[in-house]
């Protein structure tokens, strides 16, 4: 960049790059979303041996069979079927659930806030505990604290979430009575607060009903802590490795030689540059929690999207399964690509 460029044009350039990154982001996300649609279409209409038979049963006459086949649009070429499927999804039509007898899109809109509330509290726990643990482990590299944190983080990759949920319920709910049991709220508080956001903590705070608020918090505590543990494992591990990269650099030695206090070296000098990659890690971890909540919700009877998905699976309710897959997949892709683009915008090195 030459000296002839004024600061205004530099700003223009930066804006241009931001717009370029944004354009690329939109194209890539749209293509990935189309890929996701292709996969769910493939799973829904190509993999099952005969979707018509699943609807009419194997005792239907040939004429009934043909009518149903035409009514489902399965006599059209596959490409046409795919295009009309994409059109339906874009119009927000995800089909009809045979279990709840309602449109899948409505069902999903109703259950999604429960998952969002759980995953958000989980990621908060993961960040608040995971980042300091990773920094601490890196600052004491090789010590027993470092080893202990490493093994603790590795356990996050090795413990089945549903098992931890069951054991947690047995110990903290049945054994010690510290937390409330399965479900979002005790049955007699159910439906007491008017629904604004679907997030029970927010809704009860708006209504000023603190009994419900603390009851909901009591129910959230265990599943959110367990989800938080899994994001903590990943965040602590990545933070440690980012910090080790920084602490090995010469500018850290320079700062130490200059007599900068050690806490300042770690939390200011070394921590500042890793904030950007950490945002990506946290984003990915958040997306991972939406996925991880499937198992946790099943164990805790949490009325979220994961529980909806597994119930639909057990009832062979394919529209509901594919609708939930589509929504979780879309949110996952969106967070994934957003943290990607955020990284590119925030990190000066990746702008070239």
């Amino acid at each position: 960049m030459g000296a002839t460029l004024g600061s205004g044009s530099i700003r223009m350039r930066r804006l241009g790059r931001g717009a370029g990154a944004l354009g690329g982001f939109v194209v890539v996300t749209a293509l990935t979303f189309l890929g996701l649609l292709a996969i769910t279409f493939f799973i829904g209409r190509v993999v099952p041996i005969d979707p018509v038979l699943a609807v009419v049963g194997d005792r239907a006459s040939q004429a009934q069979y043909d009518t149903a086949r035409a009514a489902m649009g399965l006599d059209r070429p596959l490409a046409v079927q795919f295009l009309s499927y994409v059109g339906e999804v874009l119009r927000g039509d995800l089909g009809h659930s045979i279990t709840t007898n309602r449109p899948v899109a409505d069902d999903l809109a109703r259950v999604f806030p429960a998952t969002l509330e759980l995953a958000t509290l989980g990621i908060l726990i993961g960040v608040v505990l995971g980042v300091p643990m990773g920094v601490w482990a890196a600052a004491r590299q090789g010590s027993w604290i470092d080893q202990a944190i490493r093994v603790f983080a590795l356990l996050g990759y090795s413990i089945p979430a549903f098992w931890l949920g069951l054991v947690g319920l047995a110990i903290f709910y049945a054994g010690l009575g510290w937390v409330a049991g399965p479900g979002r709220v005790d049955i007699y508080y159910d439906g007491l607060v008017p629904v604004h956001t679907g997030l029970l903590l927010v809704d009860s705070a708006i209504a000023g009903n603190w009994t419900v608020f603390f009851n909901a918090l009591d129910h959230l505590a265990l599943p959110a802590t367990i989800l938080g543990f899994f994001s903590l494992a990943y965040i602590a591990r990545m933070t440690r490795s980012f910090m080790l990269d920084q602490l090995g650099q010469e500018y850290i030695t320079t700062a130490r030689v200059k007599g900068v206090p050690e806490w300042r070296v770690i939390w200011v000098h070394a921590f500042k540059p890793i904030r950007v990659p950490l945002i990506t890690v946290i984003g990915l971890s958040y997306a991972g929690l939406l996925e991880g909540s499937v198992m946790i919700e099943t164990v805790f009877s949490w009325p979220g999207i994961g529980n909806y998905l597994t119930q639909a699976l057990l009832n062979a309710d394919m529209s509901a399964v594919l609708g939930a897959t589509l929504v979780i997949g879309s949110v996952f892709i969106l967070i994934n690509k957003l943290s990607d683009v955020l990284y590119r915008v925030l990190d000066p090195r990746s702008r070239q």
Binding site: G35, P160, V167, V321
Partner: protein
């Protein structure tokens, strides 16, 4: 000249000597990492348990004994008995065979698939690269567990379909790695030399490109094993993987779910087996990465 000197010779006389020497050096480096040794021991234990299950297990995994149902852990049944009076320890021991089968089959299906896709994309570049990597990226940005669940839902529950579903979600990561590796030596002189000798693209890819990708592939597959075990157990837990009465660990936890408050051991014991084996693969994978693939050490 001792065997050790022969192995560590700086100018090996044959390809065999060079390979053995390399294996020896890596083995000794690995042995210096205590956590990796623990991991290797756990995996060795898993393989031996699976191989000698009938001799290790005191009872058969299917033998019911309704008079002794839901017995707490005791010297006779040191993991207790389940709701049909079956010895849980015996079932966990036999379950190691199912776990070993799942991870091996997933690795055998997905690693070569990813390897070939990645090597072809990286070797040819241009539009094949863009097409193959586009597909790979779509799969990579998809949540794995959800995708596996949807595939099993369409294919129908069962252990074979669970293996297929997990393999479908596992290959893209390997394709990415194989492509990155291939790109680094695509234009190197030894590839040009083989090409000048008249070797076909297929021969170059299979004989000269793929062997160089294997070490990072082994590391990645080992690290992924823990995730594969957890996914398989999760599918079993949801009733979509191995079906009862198969002693699959996830399915066993699912059966014990109704007894978790009073007979905690039914659901808890198989969980310890899952944790131990997953931890073993993670520790071994970490150690292998430090030895085979120092470039990406510390990341995951």
């Amino acid at each position: 000249m001792t065997a050790r000197d022969w192995l560590l010779d700086d100018s090996p006389a044959s390809r065999l000597q060079a390979n053995l020497g390399r294996a020896w050096r890596m083995g000794t480096t690995l042995l210096r990492n205590p956590l990796a040794v623990v991991g290797a021991a756990i995996i060795l234990g898993l393989i031996l348990t699976a191989a000698f299950a009938p001799w290790i297990a005191p009872e058969t995994p299917f033998g019911q004994d309704l008079a002794n149902r839901l017995q707490p852990p005791s010297p006779q049944h040191w993991m207790g008995t389940d709701e049909l009076g079956r010895d849980i320890f015996s079932r966990v021991v036999y379950g190691s065979r199912i776990t070993l089968m799942i991870v091996s089959l997933v690795a055998v299906i997905s690693a070569p698939l990813g390897l070939i896709v990645g090597a072809v994309a990286g070797y040819f570049g241009g539009w094949p690269d863009r097409l193959l990597m586009g597909v790979t990226d779509v799969f990579l940005s998809m949540p794995k567990l959800i995708l596996a669940l949807a595939f099993v839902a369409a294919l129908g529950p069962g252990i074979e379909n669970a293996i297929i579903a997990i393999a479908i979600t596992a290959w893209p990561a390997y394709a990415r790695i194989a492509r990155a590796e291939t790109m680094t030596f695509r234009n190197s002189e030894f590839i040009s030399a083989v090409r000048l000798l008249g070797a076909s693209h297929g021969r170059i890819i299979f004989r000269h490109v793929l062997p160089l990708c294997t070490s990072s592939m082994i590391v990645r597959v080992t690290l992924d094993m823990a995730g594969i075990i957890l996914t398989a157990a999760g599918l079993g837990f949801l009733g979509l993987g191995a079906q009862p009465p198969m002693p699959e660990w996830g399915a066993m936890i699912s059966r014990g779910r109704s007894f978790i408050l009073d007979q905690w051991w039914v659901a808890t014991m198989p969980g310890f087996a899952i944790i131990l084996v997953s931890l073993g693969f993670s520790l071994l994978g970490d150690g292998l990465r430090d030895v085979l693939d120092p470039k990406q050490a510390g990341e995951r």
